[in-house]
């Protein structure tokens, strides 16, 4: 996700963002169904969503897959990197296709990334490979229990 400046939204755009975080119909003409629900028309809804995507207001639009249910692995991992070596390490870490998200955070452990792998075994392997490639210890923090997922952002 790009860090972008807050944008001006019109009423229909706000409505679409708030509504579509909750779901999108699986039907032959889903934009028509959304339009009917919101009192608009399907061409307008499609145009608005396309524009929200292009402007980066929506970072994704479509199915969110659950890596673990697909037989894959998922973890959160962190590294502590000296500031003057950060860019080099960042390039190496982001070069791994398994790295789905990566954030710089203000802490001794200053790089935090999510690994999504094809198999559960691949998670630890990947951590080891990143440790090897960067020269810094990767701390693997797989979730042990999940309590809640799903906040909506009010537009």
């Amino acid at each position: 996700m790009r860090k972008i400046e807050p944008v001006e939204l019109d009423d229909l755009e706000r409505l679409l963002i708030n509504e579509l975080q909750g779901g999108f119909p699986i039907s032959q003409r889903p934009f028509y169904d959304v339009a009917m629900r919101l009192g608009s028309d399907e061409e307008t809804v499609l145009t608005k969503i396309s524009s929200l995507r292009e402007r980066g207001v929506l970072s994704r639009f479509g199915p969110m897959y659950n890596a673990e249910k697909m037989g894959g692995g998922l973890t959160l991992a962190a590294i502590s990197i000296p500031e003057d070596d950060f860019d080099r390490v960042n390039d190496i870490v982001n070069g791994f296709g398994e790295v789905a998200h990566n954030y710089k955070r203000e802490h001794e452990l200053n790089m935090w990334f999510v690994l999504a792998t094809e198999t559960p075994e691949r998670v630890q392997q990947c951590c080891n490979e990143i440790t090897e490639a960067t020269g810094y210890q990767v701390y693997n923090m797989p979730k042990k229990q999940e309590f809640f997922i799903g906040l909506r952002f009010e537009a």
Partner: protein, 157 residues
Amino acid sequence: MIDALDRLIIKATQEGLPLVLNPYDVVGDEVGTTGHEVRVRLNRMLDDGIIRRIGAVPNHYALGYSANGMSTWDVPDEKVAEIGAKIGALDFVSHCYERPRHKGIWNYNLFAMVHGKTKETCYERVQIIADMLGDDDQGHEILFSSKILKKTGLRLA
């Protein structure tokens, strides 16, 4: 379980749905099946939890939620389930997980993502959690993201 056609559908949609009036039909054309079959399979994957949901993910920065604080907590291991459920129920927490500690560098066993339009709001919200936990809060910290280095959806190779 997913089969070969499911996999093709996943690959065709993991970057997003085509922005056309009949997106599932277009996906069907792409993977060599009908739009109907695509819809049946997406519905099944939703039921099975393979798809968490179909919809829009806003860039929260664009909506003015520029503070995204990862609050991390050291709570008694034997009470983590009870405490996790309580924190997860708060309306400003988006994710809450138990994760392992790493001796010497990481003492926290509970993570709760707190969102707000400002850092101050995030600090206030973390204080609400701290007050709620009382003595069970054996230490906490809030880590703000100073930069997004990468963000992509899940990718099947």
